[in-house]
Symmetry: none
């Protein structure tokens, strides 16, 4: 990966949270600790970020960031490493120039880091995703219209949106509350409605969920398994669950095995 690309990713990572650790950036860029340190040092003298022990932070005061209603940022750090691995695998499915849809969510948000060096038409209903891509990438960003719901940082509209209906994508990426034999499950009827509209605009549906979601059920079904092209999850998935997907003709990608895995086992000899 080129120096410039790393720098982009690093700057992008630093924006997302108060302080980004060296390890996280190693994860993000697939390069060594030494290189990241050198990059941080360089960006520091360029005054593009501030170097701190353990990593780096954005120059601009992140004072307000947490204020303006964000259960988002709390969620954001849960299982961050796992989510990143899943998001990376998702981003690797994309090809430059190929239009995609990214539905809002904490896992899908992680994709932004892996899209900083891409050039694709990206449609999203997530304000933070749009914001990040706008500021840290050269992708063409398209947003759905409507009211911005602060809790979820999602844009919803009770009305039909011709922008949405005229955007066609190769793939749509989304998270969910649960995934079972009956299909993809979501908790909120409003969300369901919005997501269903989007799903119709893409050839392939790619679902990003950590493995715990296989055991979680919700009340509302968004779509059946047959509509799902690919599921990306972590290695906590059980054989039974994998078989269920296989049986429904869903491709399965288990992220976090090959590259960028950090030992997080609580076991110790």
């Amino acid at each position: 990966m080129h120096e410039k690309e790393r720098h982009r990713i690093i700057l992008s990572a630093v924006q997302e949270k108060p302080v980004a650790t060296v390890q996280e950036m190693v994860d993000l860029t697939d390069s060594s600790e030494a290189t990241i340190r050198r990059d941080i040092a360089a960006l520091h003298v360029q005054k593009r970020l501030r170097r701190v022990r353990g990593g780096a932070e954005a120059l601009s005061p992140p004072s307000f960031v947490g204020l303006a209603g964000r259960p988002f940022s709390v969620n954001e750090t849960i299982n961050a490493a796992q989510k990143r691995a899943i998001a990376r695998a998702a981003a690797e499915l994309c090809k430059d120039g190929e239009p995609i849809i990214i539905n809002g969510g904490t896992t899908t948000f992680q994709m932004v880091h892996f899209l900083t060096n891409r050039r694709m038409p990206i449609f999203t209903n997530s304000f933070p995703i749009a914001e990040h891509l706008l500021k840290h990438s050269k992708n063409t960003v398209m947003l759905s219209g409507g009211t911005i719901y602060r809790e979820q940082n999602i844009i919803l509209s009770p009305f039909d949106n011709d922008v949405t209906r005229n955007f066609y994508a190769r793939r749509m990426f989304m998270g969910a509350q649960g995934l079972g034999p009956l299909g993809l499950m979501e908790g909120d009827p409003l969300l369901i409605q919005a997501e269903q509209k989007l799903v119709d605009q893409a050839d392939e549906l790619v679902v990003l969920i950590d493995s715990s979601k296989f055991r979680r059920r919700s009340s509302l079904i968004l779509c059946g398994l047959s509509r799902i092209a690919t599921v990306i999850t972590d290695d906590g998935i059980e054989d039974r669950e994998a078989k269920m997907l296989e049986g429904a003709g869903v491709a399965l990608i288990v992220a976090g095995k090959a590259a960028g895995e950090l030992e997080e086992s609580s076991l110790q000899a």
Copy 2:
């Protein structure tokens, strides 16, 4: 393959991603490393791209051609004080609970500072305005859908947007390139189209322009004077121009008098 062809391919490659490597271009053109390096060097001195270690990058971020005007960031600082005064007067017209539309622009952007403690439904097509209001206020923010144009930070869509058509506002606030006897003038046809859609959704049109705009003309007319309810400008406005507005039944607010001075001529409740 001829030099020109390679150059075309190289320039195109460089547009696709932040940085294109020499190897990639070798693959693309089926020529040798040495040749690509020489090409890059040549294009570099021609200022058609920037040479970086490992390859080359585009020198300017992609701009959406067709939208006239300076980038937002440049415009932003011109006459900031005057714009602020005008924006403050505009914000003072608003009442809590009363829905408004704010069209994107550098002057209207200044309104956000005076709206932080308000609670209104606010519809905008400006990404930065939405962002600021979202982070620094408790207003209900609604956004139009479409592509985000980076230069102007405006969201535009060639398609109709039912979100827009279903939002009704007491007032719409907007800037413009010029204002003359024929009406409100704008430079870009795309902008015109989007703005006209919005204008239809509001009872009263409030125009925010600094006084220099009275002497500036543009090629496209957005709407006639009769459609304008109120003009807010600074005290550089000339009598002749004030009379023109008066004659057309347009209310005039002159902002930017000494701080603390409460008198504001032609003020309507």
